[in-house]
Amino acid sequence: MEFENTSADKTLREVVGHDGVPDFVDPNWLARQDKEREIETKLILGSNFHGWNVSENIIAEKNLSNDPWEFGYAVAASRPLQLAASAHDCTFCLEKFQAGVEMYGGLGDRHSFGIHLTSQYLGPTINWTAPNGTTLLFSPQFGLNDYSVPCLYRFGISYEIEQFLGHFHRGGN
């Protein structure tokens, strides 16, 4: 669950409701006057199968003003370029790269649920994990209909803190 307090937010990291090309029409000075306070809930499902990681997200977002609930989704599948690890330390070997495909888009709102007048995107993803565990992501996304932005480039950086909750458990296996 997230709380967002934004204005002039034109990023399309994820899409809900009828987000799309019309959101980019207003200039920033005008968009800044529109404050948005939103609660976003997200159900994240993931599974691993024969080296593939498949994940599905269902997003429900509510603007705390009198707007209806808006919905969105994302599905992705990715796989390391090499499943077995190398015997020697390496930085750019195939096991450090993960390639896949992602699709995401809006699903309308409570009053008009569905894909009519929503933007939809599809594109490849490529990750590289550095030796210190930091992961860099690049993903060009292509709009699938006239309501979508024709092309988006997404860059990401992440670091997973492993066993964060595990430190609070007693040991013994």
Binding site: N48, H50, G51, N53, P80, L83, A84, A85, S86, A87, H88, D89, G133, E162, Q163, G166, H167, H169, R170, G171, G172, N173
Partner: protein
Amino acid sequence: MIRKMSLLLPPLIFLSTALVLASADGAWLAKVPARDHERANPYQEQPDAIAAGRRIFLDHCSKCHGENAEGTKKRPPLRSHRVQQQATVGDLHWLLVNGNMKKGMPSWSKLPDPQIWQVISYVKSLHEQ
């Protein structure tokens, strides 16, 4: 009423202690299905797999189990009789895939299967202490 309670207390303490002991270290071994118990490691005793497993171990396992699998204050050693003799490679694979969250052991199903087997090759190459 209080007298009845005091009579019930010792057996209750005994029962709860027995339950705690029954669910203590190694209880996960009883949960492993026979099919998983008998699985074979495709990388068994392969020097390259052991070296790769050591690298994966250092990246993901050593924070809890120690750099040389000697264990830490909170986490068990992997050079124990249970891991080296009692558990089969199939048992260890099952534990790595499913985890044992009650004991703080997470699932490592995010690792590709060959890497899980490589870690097991490394762990099984260690000597019992």
